[in-house]
Every structure is written in structure tokens, then in C-alpha cells.
């Protein structure tokens, strides 16, 4: 195994670990919709990004890597946007956060 | 003309449809539509003459072997193409003055698309292309059935569409098995391989495909014809005429083709199914009071008769059934168009409220009576010739059942013919008041005269159309005339003393079943067919 492959596997492993943590976070009891959305958005963005970078390193400098980088850019722009739109829709349709600790959403 | 022209029989109507829709104003579009439909008779006639000698086959794009889609025109396909072009011309002339509606050229667009799709269905011999064309024609027919916003039957139309999609999924599934077994998509090549296989491995594809084809030609134990018939009450008479005259015939055409592909499996099964369909269609027709429903159910009865004739396994019966398909298209279109005029004059579509039409509109009533004489098989009319040959293969009980079915048809049309006599019950529009309807009268009279002409020159027409030199034995024909006369007498007596007094089976009037029941009937038909083929 070359150094390149080892590095890429480590980075992909980190990405999978992010996703695992995120999934555990999503299924925590007594958390409301906004909390879960936050977590879901995080695992989608960070996890996928990290795995994508790992793949790019593994394949070296090629056309395939270019495609992966394009996908990474699109994910970076679109994933937070999707979470934003979902949260906005929930907020506009009158969903109230039940977070008690700290700063809840202001109506 | 080169054989490559076969592709253009399908492409040209589609192109013209889109051109009319996009480029022309309504006034010009009408003229162009009629001109094109009339001009289209020339290549259709050429096809009929050219296929007398040999089959014309062409691969779209000249690819070798079975790589491309192969179109084949034999005599049968040519007859169907001619019939399609003729009926669309007739309907086009009939509706030339109709003020369409706000959406203007949409009607012409759909009519031309339907013409192209039906011609394509008759010419193609590719399994998958049949699937695509059937879907196109289903969608176009769905729009046409619900064309007028004010009186469309949305629920029946939606059920019609959904049932047809489900049935076509069965067809696609069966096609998958055919591709697995034969590795080709062409009918001739596939049937060459399928001939070598045993019944048990063919049972599943046969049952799947035949279930969908049987639904397409409205055979009875499947209830898929119900939403179609129910949605007719919200559509125009011309659409109903095209549905009864051509769209169902496309199903029958596919039935003939697929029976050939599978080498005549399950003929006994379809003999029974045909008889059941005919009997039930006659009973349903008798119980109706709406003109459109009576005519539509009578179509189902006649289709049952045709399927019976095709499944008898006799050469003469087969040719007779094929001739009956042509005849039925002609007189059913004539009947629907006449009914359109008469109901327009009387402001009602209930046959109990229409009386004295013979005095009000003598010409149209005369054409209508000619068409009725055709459908009940009166001597000298085309129906008698085709029914004569259709029955020639039947023996024993089957023959008597067919005579009884014909008696039922006579009974239904005696009930229908009551509209010509007596005195008008309500207000009657004066004929020709608002709109010049010379073309309408000319069309229906022409159709009536064609019915008579095909009756007088029946044997010659059958020789020309189906390449079957038949001979009409004078004495047996006379025997049939005797049976016919007796049937008419019995029919009139039964009508006078049993049916005219009270409603016949009023529960069947306006019958409608739920979507779930229709699905169950499809499944049950499939189960019975697969058991019949696989086990027996």
C-alpha cells in the first residue's frame, strides 16, 4: 500500500466516523426538529466532503478527480441551502422549537 | 413507390398533426385537414393493390437482420389501413363545419395523432413498438373522451386510463419473457422460435399478453370495458364512432396477430369467451335506454361474435370474421353519426323519448335503417354475407348459440328502430335550421349505400380484400334468409309483448363497478387463462 492510499483511507475513515456520530445524534431522544435538522445537515456536508476528498487523493491527478472536486463544490453550496430552506419552511408554517436550554428561536 | 414509403404512412399524419397545431389558423387548418385525409386515400389504395401480390416488408433505416424495427404490410394490414383512412375521412367530412371550441386546433391535432398511431399499429410487427403505439393511442383517446369540459366524465376517464396502464404492464411483463425465450423483438422471428416450444413454458407469456389484448378488445369476463363505455356518455358521437369503429378493431387486429405468433393456442378458450361476451353484450344492450350506450354495448356483442368466428378454426369462418370487422366498422360509424343527427334534432339521447324520426328526417332515417339492416344481417346487406361465412364453420350447439345471439341483436335493434315510427313526443328542432348539413346527410347516406353495395357484391369484395375465393351457395343462403325472417318475426313479437311494456333488467342500466373489482377481474382472467394453457 502506498502512502497515498493510506492517507486516503484515513480521511475516508474520518468521514465515516463523522456520519456515524451524526446518525447517533439524529436519534437522540427528546430533541426537536431543528436540532435533528442541524445534525442531519452536518453529517451530509462534512461526511460527504471528507469522503470525497479521500477519494480524490486516492485517484491522484486525473479527470475523475476533477469530477469529484466539482461534486464537492456543489455539495458545499447546496447542502446548507437545502437545510436552510427546510428550516425556513418549518419556521414559516409555525413550528415552534421546544428547546429549553439557552437561546431558543425568537418569534 | 419504393417500400421505404411504408414508414411515411405513420410519419405523415403525425407531422401534419403537429404542423396544423403550430402553424395554421383554424379556417385553413380545416381545409388542409380534409384535403390531406382525402389525399391519403390514394396511397392507402396503392397499398391495397400492391399487397395483393406479395407482402411488403421494410426495416426502418435499412439495418440488416432483426436489428431495426421491421414494418410489414400484408393484405390484412392493408385492409385495416384502408379502413382507418376511410373512417377518418368520413368523420372528418362529417365534422367539417363543427365549431370546435376555444382550444381550436387541438381536436384536429388529436384526430391526426390517433390516425397515425392506429396506422402504425396495423403496420408494425415489432413487439415493443406495439407497446409504445398502444400507449400513445390510449392517451390520445383519453383526451378525446374527455374533450368537452362541460360534460366530460372525469371519473370514468381516469379509471379507463389507469386500468389500461395496468393492463399494458402485464403486456410488458409477457414481452420480457418472450425476449428471454427468443432473443428478438420481431414477430415473425419470434414465432419461428416459439413454434418449437412446449405449451407449458409458453403458458405464462401467452397468458400475460393475451390478458392485455383481451382487455383491449373489450372481452367480457374482464370488466375493463366498463369505464370506457361509461365515459362515452360524456363524449361526442364522432369520438364514440371512432372508438367503436376503429379503436376496438385495433385490439381485434392485435388478437389475430398474437394468435398467429403463438400458433393458435387457446382457441377453445377464446371460443367460449367470445360467446360469453356476445351474449352478455346483447343483454346489456337490451337493457339500455341511452342511444350511445345501446350502440356501444352492441359493439361489444359484435366483437364477441368476431372473436368466436376467429376461434372456430375454420378457414371460411376466419374470412367471414375478418369481413365482419370491416362491415361492422362501416355500419357502426353510420349508426353513431345518424344517432348524432337525430338526437340533435330531438334534444334528447333517451330512445324512449324519440319517436317519428322517419317523417322528420327522411334521408338520415333511411341511411340509419340501411345501417340497421346491415348490422342485423338482412339479406342483400353486407352483414348477412359476413355472418353467413362466419357461421359456416360452426356446428351443433355453437351454430344455435350464434343464431340466438343474432336474435338478441335483432331484438336490441327492434327496440332501437322504434324511434322511427309514431309521433314525436316533445319539441323537435326543424331540420337544417341553424346549420347547413348537406355534408352530414351525404356522409351517412354514402355509408348506407356502401353497406348495400358490399352486400350485393359481397363474395367479390371478400375475394379482393382477403384473397379468399369464396362461393355463396344459393340454397344455404336461402336457408339463412329463412332463419333471419323467422328471427325478425320472433324479435318483433318478443318486443311487442315483453319488452316495450316495461324496462328490461333496469339494474344493468348505468352499471358501474369499482376500480378494485376491475383489478380483481383482470387477475381472475389471467389465472384462468394460465391454468387452461398450462394444465390442459
Amino acid at each position: 500500500m502506498s502512502v497515498q492510499e493510506i492517507v486516503s483511507f484515513i480521511i475516508m475513515g474520518i468521514g465515516i466516523a463523522f456520519m456515524l456520530v451524526g446518525i447517533i445524534g439524529m436519534f437522540q431522544p427528546k430533541k426537536d426538529f431543528y436540532y435533528r435538522l442541524l445534525v442531519a445537515c452536518k453529517i451530509d456536508t462534512i461526511g460527504l466532503l471528507t469522503i470525497g476528498i479521500g477519494l480524490a487523493i486516492r485517484h491522484g491527478f486525473s479527470f475523475f478527480t476533477g469530477k469529484i472536486i466539482l461534486i464537492i463544490i456543489i455539495i458545499m453550496v447546496l447542502n446548507p441551502l437545502v437545510a436552510h430552506i427546510i428550516a425556513q419552511a418549518a419556521y414559516r408554517s409555525g413550528y415552534v422549537s421546544i428547546c429549553k436550554d439557552g437561546d431558543s428561536f425568537d418569534h | 413507390m419504393p417500400p421505404q414509403m411504408l414508414t411515411f404512412f405513420v410519419i405523415v399524419p403525425v407531422l401534419i398533426a403537429v404542423f396544423l397545431y403550430v402553424f395554421f389558423t383554424l379556417k385553413i387548418a380545416r381545409v388542409i385537414a380534409i384535403a390531406v385525409q382525402a389525399a391519403f386515400m390514394v396511397p392507402a389504395a396503392w397499398l391495397l393493390f400492391a399487397t395483393q401480390e406479395s407482402e411488403i416488408a421494410v426495416t426502418v433505416g435499412d439495418y440488416e437482420g432483426f436489428l431495426g424495427i421491421i414494418l410489414r404490410a400484408d393484405l390484412l394490414a392493408a385492409v385495416f389501413v384502408c379502413l382507418t383512412v376511410f373512417i377518418f375521412l368520413v368523420v372528418g367530412i362529417y365534422t367539417v363545419q363543427t365549431p370546435y371550441d376555444r382550444t381550436k386546433r387541438l381536436y384536429l391535432f388529436l384526430i391526426f395523432l390517433l390516425e397515425g398511431a392506429l396506422i402504425g399499429l396495423f403496420l408494425t410487427r415489432d413487439f415493443f413498438n406495439i407497446f409504445v403505439l398502444v400507449e400513445v393511442s390510449t392517451v390520445v383517446v383519453t383526451i378525446l373522451l374527455m374533450y368537452d369540459r362541460e360534460r366530460r366524465n372525469l371519473f370514468a376517464g381516469m379509471t379507463f386510463l389507469m386500468v389500461n396502464i395496468i393492463v399494458m404492464q402485464l403486456y410488458l411483463f409477457g414481452l420480457g419473457y418472450i425476449y428471454m425465450l427468443t432473443g428478438v423483438m420481431d414477430m415473425e422471428a419470434a414465432s419461428a422460435v416459439l413454434y418449437t416450444m412446449d405449451d407449458r413454458s409458453l403458458a405464462l407469456p401467452y397468458a400475460l399478453i393475451m390478458t392485455s389484448i383481451a382487455s383491449k378488445c373489450s372481452l367480457l369476463p374482464m370488466l375493463t370495458w366498463l369505464p370506457k363505455v361509461n365515459s362515452l356518455t360524456g363524449s361526442r358521437f364522432t369520438i364514440a364512432a371512432i372508438m367503436s369503429g376503429l379503436h376496438i378493431k385495433a385490439g381485434v387486429y392485435l388478437f389475430i396477430r398474437f394468435q398467429d405468433v403463438f400458433g393458435g393456442m387457446g382457441t377453445d378458450f377464446f371460443l367460449v369467451i367470445g360467446i360469453i361476451t356476445a351474449v352478455a353484450g346483447v343483454i346489456m344492450a337490451l337493457s339500455q335506454t341511452d342511444v350511445r350506450l345501446l350502440l356501444a354495448y352492441s359493439t361489444i356483442a359484435q366483437v364477441g361474435l368476431i372473436i368466436t368466428g376467429l376461434s372456430l378454426g375454420d378457414g371460411y369462418s376466419r374470412v367471414g370474421s375478418l369481413f365482419h370487422i370491416v362491415n361492422h366498422s362501416l355500419f357502426k360509424v353510420a349508426l353513431f353519426l345518424c344517432a348524432s343527427q337525430i338526437t340533435y334534432l330531438y334534444h334528447t339521447k333517451d330512445i324512449r323519448k324519440i319517436r317519428g324520426a322517419l317523417r322528420q328526417t327522411p334521408l338520415i332515417a333511411a341511411a340509419n335503417i340501411m345501417a340497421i339492416l346491415g348490422i342485423i344481417g338482412a339479406p342483400l346487406f353486407n352483414g348477412s354475407i359476413s355472418k353467413y361465412f362466419l357461421m359456416s364453420g360452426a356446428t351443433g350447439a355453437t351454430e344455435w348459440i350464434i343464431i340466438l345471439i343474432n336474435l338478441g341483436t335483432i331484438l336490441a335493434f327492434v327496440k332501437y328502430a322504434a324511434i322511427f315510427f309514431g309521433k314525436p313526443l316533445g319539441k323537435v328542432r326543424t331540420e337544417g335550421g341553424d346549420e347547413p348539413d348537406f355534408n352530414r346527410r351525404a356522409v351517412v347516406l354514402g355509408l348506407g349505400i356502401i353497406c348495400l353495395a358490399l352486400g350485393i357484391g359481397g363474395a367479390q369484395a371478400m375475394d379482393f380484400l382477403f384473397d379468399a375465393p369464396v362461393s355463396l351457395s344459393f340454397w344455404s343462403y336461402l336457408e339463412k334468409v329463412g332463419i333471419f325472417a323467422a328471427s325478425v318475426a320472433i324479435g318483433i313479437l318478443i318486443y311487442r309483448y315483453a319488452i316495450s311494456k316495461r324496462e328490461f333488467l333496469p339494474k344493468l342500466n348505468g352499471l358501474s363497478l369499482s376500480f378494485q373489482q376491475i383489478c380483481v377481474s383482470i387477475g381472475a382472467f389471467f389465472a384462468v387463462l394460465v391454468i387452461y394453457i398450462g394444465v390442459f
Partner: protein, 128 residues
């Protein structure tokens, strides 16, 4: 892999086909019926693609025109081309179905089969 004599890519589409048929028989909701018809279409399409992939499942796309491939490792291109057509037909028909359902919902204010049919039979009865 096969189950009994039948290939696994054949038995699962058959199962889903009949599951959706069962759903069509028991469902009360028209939206669900339309979804189930789409499921049926999908199962038939998977059946066809399974036919194409019985012998091999490398996509029929050749990056290098000169290289010689063993045809028994490549998926059959014909079912794929046919199923592309079938998918587009499916979505077109589904769009029409949804439009009709929407029009019916505006008219009768329900999306269940039975109440809608009761209302519609009164409304669409032939003239008498």
C-alpha cells in the same frame, strides 16, 4: 443466485408486481393507487434490466474502440434502451393521472375511491 429454479432478479420483480397488485385491490386512496401503478412499472423495468444483466453486468459503453471485449461480461443494451422509453412513457402517463385526480378532487373534495365513485355515478349518469 437463484431461488429454486428462478433467478433472484426475476423473483423479486414478480413479488413487487404482485405486492402492488394487492395494494391496488385493497387501497382506498387514489393517490396511493397512482403510486402503486408506478411501483408496478418499476418492477417490470427491473425485470427487463435483470434479463439484460443475467450474463454480465458491465455497462455497454466502450471507452476504447479497439479493445476486444468478451460479450458475456457486458449487459445487454437492448433492454436498457427499451426501458428508457418505458420510463418516460410511465412518467408522462402518471402526470396525466395526477392532473385528472386533481381535477376530480376540486370537483368532489375527496381522494378516496368509494365516496368519489358514489358522487361521480350520480353526476355522470346517462341521461334518462
Amino acid at each position: 443466485m437463484t431461488v429454486g429454479d428462478i433467478h433472484v432478479l426475476e423473483i423479486f420483480p414478480i413479488l413487487v408486481f404482485f405486492i402492488s397488485f394487492f395494494g391496488l385491490i385493497i387501497s382506498r386512496n387514489i393517490v396511493k393507487a397512482i403510486v402503486l401503478i408506478m411501483l408496478m412499472q418499476t418492477s417490470v423495468i427491473l425485470f427487463w434490466l435483470g434479463l439484460g444483466a443475467r450474463l454480465g453486468n458491465i455497462p455497454p459503453i466502450f471507452q476504447d474502440a479497439t479493445e476486444v471485449y468478451d460479450p458475456n461480461t457486458i449487459a445487454d443494451p437492448l433492454p436498457q434502451a427499451l426501458m428508457l422509453t418505458a420510463i418516460i412513457i410511465g412518467i408522462a402517463v402518471t402526470a396525466i393521472n395526477i392532473t385528472l385526480l386533481n381535477a376530480l378532487f376540486r370537483k368532489y373534495q375527496t381522494v378516496d375511491w368509494q365516496p368519489m365513485q358514489d358522487l361521480a355515478t350520480v353526476d355522470e349518469r346517462p341521461e334518462s
